[in-house]
Protein backbone atom coordinates (compact mmCIF):
# COMPACT_ATOMS: atom_id res chain seq x y z
CA UNK A 1 0.00 0.00 0.00
CA UNK A 2 2.81 2.41 0.92
CA UNK A 3 4.30 1.76 -2.50
CA UNK A 4 1.00 2.52 -4.24
CA UNK A 5 0.60 5.70 -2.22
CA UNK A 6 4.10 6.79 -3.19
CA UNK A 7 3.37 6.21 -6.86
CA UNK A 8 0.06 8.08 -6.64
CA UNK A 9 1.39 11.17 -4.87
CA UNK A 10 2.46 12.99 -7.99
CA UNK A 11 -1.01 12.62 -9.53
CA UNK A 12 -2.59 14.17 -6.47
CA UNK A 13 -0.26 17.19 -6.18
CA UNK A 14 -2.70 19.67 -7.76
CA UNK A 15 -5.17 18.82 -5.02
CA UNK A 16 -2.45 19.21 -2.40
CA UNK A 17 -1.83 22.78 -3.52
CA UNK A 18 -5.54 23.49 -3.45
CA UNK A 19 -6.43 21.76 -0.19
CA UNK A 20 -3.66 23.07 2.02
CA UNK A 21 -4.53 26.79 1.63
CA UNK A 22 -8.28 26.20 1.56
CA UNK A 23 -8.11 23.92 4.60
CA UNK A 24 -5.85 26.47 6.26
CA UNK A 25 -8.44 29.21 5.76
CA UNK A 26 -11.09 26.89 7.19
CA UNK A 27 -8.92 26.22 10.24
CA UNK A 28 -8.31 29.91 10.87
CA UNK A 29 -12.01 30.62 10.55
CA UNK A 30 -12.92 27.78 12.89
CA UNK A 31 -10.39 28.89 15.47
CA UNK A 32 -11.68 32.44 15.11
CA UNK A 33 -15.14 31.11 16.02
CA UNK A 34 -13.64 29.69 19.24
CA UNK A 35 -12.96 26.04 18.37
CA UNK A 36 -9.65 24.27 18.91
CA UNK A 37 -7.65 22.16 16.39
CA UNK A 38 -9.25 18.93 17.68
CA UNK A 39 -12.55 20.13 16.22
CA UNK A 40 -10.79 20.94 12.95
CA UNK A 41 -9.30 17.43 12.84
CA UNK A 42 -12.58 15.62 13.39
CA UNK A 43 -14.54 17.88 11.05
CA UNK A 44 -11.99 17.33 8.28
CA UNK A 45 -11.97 13.59 9.02
CA UNK A 46 -15.72 13.02 9.14
CA UNK A 47 -17.23 15.77 6.98
CA UNK A 48 -14.48 16.13 4.35
CA UNK A 49 -16.18 18.85 2.33
CA UNK A 50 -14.82 22.30 1.52
CA UNK A 51 -17.91 24.44 1.15
CA UNK A 52 -19.79 22.19 3.56
CA UNK A 53 -17.27 22.82 6.33
CA UNK A 54 -17.15 26.57 5.77
CA UNK A 55 -20.89 26.53 6.11
CA UNK A 56 -20.60 24.39 9.24
CA UNK A 57 -18.43 27.07 10.88
CA UNK A 58 -21.12 29.56 10.10
CA UNK A 59 -23.69 27.21 11.72
CA UNK A 60 -21.49 26.70 14.78
CA UNK A 61 -20.94 30.42 15.24
CA UNK A 62 -24.67 31.07 14.89
CA UNK A 63 -25.73 28.02 16.95
CA UNK A 64 -27.99 27.04 14.04
CA UNK A 65 -30.97 24.67 14.29
CA UNK A 66 -30.39 21.11 13.08
CA UNK A 67 -33.07 21.16 10.31
CA UNK A 68 -31.34 24.17 8.82
CA UNK A 69 -27.95 22.41 9.03
CA UNK A 70 -29.29 19.26 7.35
CA UNK A 71 -31.25 21.02 4.61
CA UNK A 72 -28.54 23.44 3.59
CA UNK A 73 -25.76 20.85 3.83
CA UNK A 74 -27.86 18.56 1.65
CA UNK A 75 -28.48 21.24 -0.96
CA UNK A 76 -24.94 22.54 -1.11
CA UNK A 77 -23.60 19.01 -1.50
CA UNK A 78 -26.34 17.97 -3.92
CA UNK A 79 -23.87 18.14 -6.78
CA UNK A 80 -21.94 15.26 -5.18
CA UNK A 81 -24.97 13.09 -5.89
CA UNK A 82 -24.21 13.54 -9.58
CA UNK A 83 -20.54 12.86 -9.14
CA UNK A 84 -21.61 9.57 -7.55
CA UNK A 85 -23.96 8.77 -10.43
CA UNK A 86 -21.21 9.20 -12.95
CA UNK A 87 -18.71 7.19 -10.89
CA UNK A 88 -20.98 4.13 -10.53
CA UNK A 89 -19.41 2.32 -13.53
CA UNK A 90 -15.85 3.27 -12.53
CA UNK A 91 -16.29 2.13 -8.94
CA UNK A 92 -17.71 -1.27 -9.96
CA UNK A 93 -15.62 -4.12 -8.61
CA UNK A 94 -13.68 -2.07 -6.07
CA UNK A 95 -14.92 -4.28 -3.24
CA UNK A 96 -14.92 -3.11 0.36
CA UNK A 97 -12.91 0.01 -0.60
CA UNK A 98 -15.97 1.36 -2.32
CA UNK A 99 -17.36 2.36 1.09
CA UNK A 100 -14.49 4.80 1.49
CA UNK A 101 -14.41 5.84 -2.18
CA UNK A 102 -18.05 6.89 -1.99
CA UNK A 103 -17.45 8.81 1.23
CA UNK A 104 -14.44 10.68 -0.18
CA UNK A 105 -15.93 11.79 -3.47
CA UNK A 106 -15.29 15.54 -3.13
CA UNK A 107 -15.21 18.08 -5.97
CA UNK A 108 -11.46 17.74 -6.27
CA UNK A 109 -11.32 13.95 -5.98
CA UNK A 110 -14.01 13.69 -8.63
CA UNK A 111 -12.20 16.12 -10.91
CA UNK A 112 -8.93 14.24 -10.50
CA UNK A 113 -10.34 10.75 -10.98
CA UNK A 114 -12.34 11.70 -14.06
CA UNK A 115 -9.41 13.42 -15.76
CA UNK A 116 -6.51 11.13 -14.81
CA UNK A 117 -5.79 7.81 -16.50
CA UNK A 118 -5.05 4.98 -14.06
CA UNK A 119 -1.30 4.28 -14.35
CA UNK A 120 -0.49 0.92 -15.96
CA UNK A 121 1.41 -0.45 -12.97
CA UNK A 122 -1.37 0.20 -10.41
CA UNK A 123 -4.67 -1.64 -10.09
CA UNK A 124 -7.71 0.59 -10.64
CA UNK A 125 -9.17 0.12 -7.15
CA UNK A 126 -5.77 0.72 -5.51
CA UNK A 127 -5.26 3.94 -7.46
CA UNK A 128 -8.72 5.31 -6.68
CA UNK A 129 -8.28 4.41 -3.03
CA UNK A 130 -4.81 5.96 -2.82
CA UNK A 131 -5.90 9.22 -4.48
CA UNK A 132 -8.92 9.54 -2.19
CA UNK A 133 -6.83 8.78 0.88
CA UNK A 134 -4.09 11.24 -0.11
CA UNK A 135 -6.60 14.01 -0.82
CA UNK A 136 -8.31 13.34 2.49
CA UNK A 137 -5.00 13.56 4.34
CA UNK A 138 -4.05 16.86 2.63
CA UNK A 139 -7.40 18.26 3.63
CA UNK A 140 -6.96 17.17 7.26
CA UNK A 141 -3.43 18.64 7.30
CA UNK A 142 -4.61 21.99 5.95
CA UNK A 143 -7.53 22.25 8.36
CA UNK A 144 -5.52 21.28 11.45
CA UNK A 145 -2.62 23.53 10.45
CA UNK A 146 -4.95 26.50 10.04
CA UNK A 147 -6.68 25.89 13.35
CA UNK A 148 -3.33 25.49 15.12
CA UNK A 149 -1.86 28.67 13.66
CA UNK A 150 -5.13 30.46 14.36
CA UNK A 151 -5.02 29.47 18.04
CA UNK A 152 -1.30 30.25 18.53
CA UNK A 153 -0.64 33.38 16.54
CA UNK A 154 -1.95 36.51 18.08
CA UNK A 155 -2.58 38.68 15.04
CA UNK A 156 -6.08 39.75 14.15
CA UNK A 157 -7.86 37.55 11.65
CA UNK A 158 -10.88 39.83 11.69
CA UNK A 159 -12.55 39.54 8.30
CA UNK A 160 -11.21 36.04 7.51
CA UNK A 161 -14.79 34.79 7.33
CA UNK A 162 -15.04 36.68 4.05
CA UNK A 163 -13.22 33.69 2.54
CA UNK A 164 -16.57 31.92 2.33
CA UNK A 165 -18.27 34.84 0.59
CA UNK A 166 -15.36 35.00 -1.85
CA UNK A 167 -15.61 31.26 -2.47
CA UNK A 168 -19.29 31.52 -3.34
CA UNK A 169 -18.64 34.58 -5.54
CA UNK A 170 -16.11 32.51 -7.47
CA UNK A 171 -18.52 29.58 -7.70
CA UNK A 172 -21.26 31.89 -9.02
CA UNK A 173 -18.88 32.99 -11.79
CA UNK A 174 -17.99 29.36 -12.57
CA UNK A 175 -21.66 28.37 -12.72
CA UNK A 176 -22.48 31.42 -14.81
CA UNK A 177 -19.80 30.46 -17.34
CA UNK A 178 -20.90 26.82 -17.60
CA UNK A 179 -24.62 27.54 -18.06
CA UNK A 180 -26.19 29.41 -20.94
CA UNK A 181 -29.53 29.90 -19.18
CA UNK A 182 -29.04 32.27 -16.24
CA UNK A 183 -32.55 32.09 -14.86
CA UNK A 184 -31.63 29.74 -11.96
CA UNK A 185 -28.74 31.98 -10.91
CA UNK A 186 -30.91 35.10 -11.03
CA UNK A 187 -33.72 33.34 -9.18
CA UNK A 188 -31.12 32.45 -6.56
CA UNK A 189 -30.42 36.14 -6.06
CA UNK A 190 -33.97 37.49 -6.09
CA UNK A 191 -35.77 35.03 -3.80
CA UNK A 192 -33.41 35.35 -0.80
CA UNK A 193 -33.31 39.14 -1.09
CA UNK A 194 -37.11 39.30 -0.99
CA UNK A 195 -37.23 36.74 1.84
CA UNK A 196 -34.55 38.66 3.74
CA UNK A 197 -36.59 41.87 3.53
CA UNK A 198 -39.80 40.09 4.54
CA UNK A 199 -38.58 37.66 7.20
CA UNK A 200 -35.23 39.03 8.36
CA UNK A 201 -31.76 37.45 8.57
CA UNK A 202 -32.46 34.72 11.14
CA UNK A 203 -35.13 32.63 9.45
CA UNK A 204 -35.12 33.48 5.75
CA UNK A 205 -32.96 30.64 4.54
CA UNK A 206 -35.25 27.61 4.68
CA UNK A 207 -38.26 29.37 3.07
CA UNK A 208 -35.87 30.63 0.38
CA UNK A 209 -34.54 27.16 -0.38
CA UNK A 210 -38.04 25.70 -0.52
CA UNK A 211 -39.31 28.43 -2.87
CA UNK A 212 -36.26 28.21 -5.15
CA UNK A 213 -36.47 24.40 -5.43
CA UNK A 214 -40.23 24.54 -5.96
CA UNK A 215 -40.07 27.20 -8.69
CA UNK A 216 -37.30 25.31 -10.48
CA UNK A 217 -39.25 22.05 -10.33
CA UNK A 218 -42.37 23.79 -11.69
CA UNK A 219 -40.33 25.09 -14.61
CA UNK A 220 -39.03 21.67 -15.59
CA UNK A 221 -39.23 21.40 -19.37
CA UNK A 222 -39.68 25.16 -19.69
CA UNK A 223 -36.07 26.11 -19.12
CA UNK A 224 -34.32 25.14 -22.33
CA UNK A 225 -32.24 21.98 -22.19
CA UNK A 226 -28.60 22.77 -22.40
CA UNK A 227 -26.74 19.54 -21.90
CA UNK A 228 -24.21 21.35 -19.75
CA UNK A 229 -21.59 19.78 -17.61
CA UNK A 230 -22.97 19.05 -14.17
CA UNK A 231 -21.85 21.30 -11.36
CA UNK A 232 -18.26 22.33 -11.02
Amino acid sequence: MINILRKSVRYSLPVFFGYIPLGFAFGIMLSDAGYNPVWAFFMALFIFAGTGQFLAVEFLAAGADIPQVVLLTFLINFRHFFYGLSMIPKYKGTGIRKLYLMFGLTDETYALLTTTKVPDDIKKEDFYFAITLLNHSYWIMGCVLGATVGSLVNISFKGIDFVMTALFAVLVVEQWKSHSNHFPALLGFCVPIIALLLIGPDNFLIPTLIVVSFVLLCLQGKLTERGDKLGR
Partner: protein
Protein backbone atom coordinates in the same frame (compact mmCIF):
# COMPACT_ATOMS: atom_id res chain seq x y z
CA UNK B 1 -18.13 29.41 20.65
CA UNK B 2 -21.55 30.42 19.42
CA UNK B 3 -23.12 27.09 20.29
CA UNK B 4 -22.38 25.12 23.49
CA UNK B 5 -20.39 21.88 23.35
CA UNK B 6 -23.30 19.48 22.90
CA UNK B 7 -25.03 21.62 20.31
CA UNK B 8 -21.73 22.06 18.46
CA UNK B 9 -21.20 18.31 18.46
CA UNK B 10 -24.69 17.70 17.08
CA UNK B 11 -24.17 20.29 14.33
CA UNK B 12 -20.92 18.60 13.27
CA UNK B 13 -22.49 15.12 13.36
CA UNK B 14 -25.52 16.34 11.38
CA UNK B 15 -23.25 17.92 8.76
CA UNK B 16 -21.13 14.75 8.55
CA UNK B 17 -24.07 12.37 8.20
CA UNK B 18 -25.83 14.57 5.64
CA UNK B 19 -22.67 14.97 3.55
CA UNK B 20 -21.95 11.24 3.59
CA UNK B 21 -25.63 10.55 2.88
CA UNK B 22 -25.61 12.65 -0.28
CA UNK B 23 -22.50 10.85 -1.47
CA UNK B 24 -23.80 7.34 -0.72
CA UNK B 25 -27.29 7.95 -2.09
CA UNK B 26 -26.59 7.53 -5.83
CA UNK B 27 -24.88 4.20 -5.15
CA UNK B 28 -27.72 3.02 -2.92
CA UNK B 29 -30.38 4.01 -5.46
CA UNK B 30 -28.83 3.39 -8.87
CA UNK B 31 -25.96 0.93 -8.53
CA UNK B 32 -28.14 -1.82 -10.02
CA UNK B 33 -28.40 -0.38 -13.49
CA UNK B 34 -31.59 1.64 -13.00
CA UNK B 35 -31.70 4.99 -14.78
CA UNK B 36 -32.29 8.00 -12.49
CA UNK B 37 -35.59 9.83 -13.23
CA UNK B 38 -35.49 12.92 -15.43
CA UNK B 39 -36.42 15.40 -12.72
CA UNK B 40 -33.35 14.43 -10.70
CA UNK B 41 -31.07 15.04 -13.68
CA UNK B 42 -32.87 18.31 -14.30
CA UNK B 43 -32.35 19.46 -10.69
CA UNK B 44 -28.68 18.54 -10.97
CA UNK B 45 -28.43 20.98 -13.81
CA UNK B 46 -30.40 23.95 -12.45
CA UNK B 47 -29.94 23.69 -8.69
CA UNK B 48 -26.18 24.37 -8.36
CA UNK B 49 -26.20 27.86 -9.95
CA UNK B 50 -29.30 28.80 -7.94
CA UNK B 51 -27.79 27.57 -4.65
CA UNK B 52 -24.50 29.44 -5.17
CA UNK B 53 -26.43 32.70 -5.61
CA UNK B 54 -28.54 31.98 -2.52
CA UNK B 55 -25.39 31.35 -0.51
CA UNK B 56 -23.86 34.69 -1.50
CA UNK B 57 -26.94 36.44 -0.14
CA UNK B 58 -26.80 34.18 2.93
CA UNK B 59 -23.22 35.30 3.60
CA UNK B 60 -24.31 38.93 3.33
CA UNK B 61 -27.44 38.55 5.45
CA UNK B 62 -26.11 40.63 8.34
CA UNK B 63 -24.72 43.43 6.19
CA UNK B 64 -26.58 46.67 6.81
CA UNK B 65 -26.69 48.98 3.80
CA UNK B 66 -28.15 51.85 5.80
CA UNK B 67 -25.63 52.13 8.63
CA UNK B 68 -22.07 51.25 9.64
CA UNK B 69 -19.89 50.73 6.58
CA UNK B 70 -22.99 50.46 4.32
CA UNK B 71 -21.76 47.13 2.95
CA UNK B 72 -19.03 48.91 1.00
CA UNK B 73 -16.16 46.53 1.93
CA UNK B 74 -18.32 43.48 1.18
CA UNK B 75 -19.56 44.67 -2.21
CA UNK B 76 -16.16 46.02 -3.20
CA UNK B 77 -14.37 42.78 -2.36
CA UNK B 78 -17.02 40.64 -4.06
CA UNK B 79 -16.51 42.78 -7.17
CA UNK B 80 -12.76 42.21 -6.88
CA UNK B 81 -13.25 38.43 -6.54
CA UNK B 82 -15.65 38.29 -9.50
CA UNK B 83 -13.58 40.46 -11.85
CA UNK B 84 -10.36 38.73 -10.91
CA UNK B 85 -12.00 35.39 -11.51
CA UNK B 86 -13.40 36.41 -14.90
CA UNK B 87 -9.94 37.65 -15.80
CA UNK B 88 -7.66 34.86 -14.52
CA UNK B 89 -10.01 31.94 -13.68
CA UNK B 90 -7.77 31.01 -10.77
CA UNK B 91 -9.92 29.99 -7.80
CA UNK B 92 -7.23 30.38 -5.14
CA UNK B 93 -5.99 33.72 -6.49
CA UNK B 94 -9.50 35.21 -6.59
CA UNK B 95 -10.31 34.02 -3.07
CA UNK B 96 -6.99 35.01 -1.47
CA UNK B 97 -6.74 38.50 -2.97
CA UNK B 98 -10.33 39.46 -2.19
CA UNK B 99 -10.20 38.02 1.35
CA UNK B 100 -6.91 39.71 2.24
CA UNK B 101 -8.24 43.00 0.83
CA UNK B 102 -11.39 42.57 2.92
CA UNK B 103 -9.37 41.89 6.08
CA UNK B 104 -7.27 44.99 5.48
CA UNK B 105 -10.36 47.12 4.83
CA UNK B 106 -12.29 46.04 7.92
CA UNK B 107 -9.22 46.32 10.13
CA UNK B 108 -8.14 49.76 8.88
CA UNK B 109 -10.39 51.94 6.70
CA UNK B 110 -13.68 50.56 8.02
CA UNK B 111 -12.52 49.60 11.52
Amino acid sequence: MGADFTHSLIIVIAAAITTAGVRYLPFILFDHGKEPPKWIKYLGDVLPPAIMSVLIIYCLRNVNLLSGSHGIPELLCIAVAVLLHIWRSNVLLSICVSTVLYMILVQTVFA
